[in-house]
Amino acid sequence: MSNSLDSYLVLSGLLFAIGTFGFLGRRNAISMLMAIELMLNAVNLSVLAFGAFVPPLNTHAAVIALLVIAVAAAEATVGLAIVMAIYRNRKTPLVDEYDAMRE
């Protein structure tokens, strides 16, 4: 089981689906950011699974995974800063109460 590419890809797909549910279903902005982190991790897992099982992609996959981790760190920094800036103005972390641009 641990020696087949399929099982890692299915695991990555399940993790991505869980992240999708969290992003669409939660009301809290920070919960949505956590779900985005889960989805990024799922994508990274699939990249590394291809790298581990397909010989020409081996080192390339590791480099791409490192770059994805760095970009995800930047995304988390800016995303959480935006959430905190909005929280300072609106006093709520719930995304369905951010309706300043609705009318």
């Binding site: 641990s2 990555s12 969290g22 939660r26 581990a52 590791a62 770059l67 760190a73 800016v78």
Partner: protein, 182 residues
Amino acid sequence: MPIGDSIPLVGIRWDDVLFVVLSAALLGSALLVVTLRDIIRCGLALTASFASLAGIYVLLGNPLIAATQVLVYIGAISVLILFAVMLTQTKNAPVRLAFQTQAWFAALAAVVIAVVIAATVLATTWPSGGRRIWTVTADVAHLLFHEYVLPFEVVSVLLTAAVVGGVFLARREVKRPEEDRS
């Protein structure tokens, strides 16, 4: 080698046992992240899922990425998220209403995505050798600093910009009293 390749008497390979245990921990803690009501527990479950994913990276034969996962995700991003949770959650926040009203449709969409991905994966014949290759860290370093050196530098600029932008967005507005006099 002190222990054998597979469990004695039972005959199951250790790799498979580790894969099942780590996948169960990963998916279980990820489900806790999206379903728990208390958001600080969501953050702790997120840390657990990062840790089990680092274990899966080791199982894939990639210790460098596993170490990076521990350093960056558990060491930096989890702490960042926990601090953001502590700074933004009010005490009288409505814990009852953790989910949007369309959460059922979100669950349906997630199930559809999972089924589609699993069906696609299982229906495709991937060009894989059927066994894992251990990634040599020196080769990764050579590739990163020769062929991928431009993306590497771009990412470093991006990280600097993100840190400066994060500090700018999250700082408090400072009232300067001398501006009133002028």
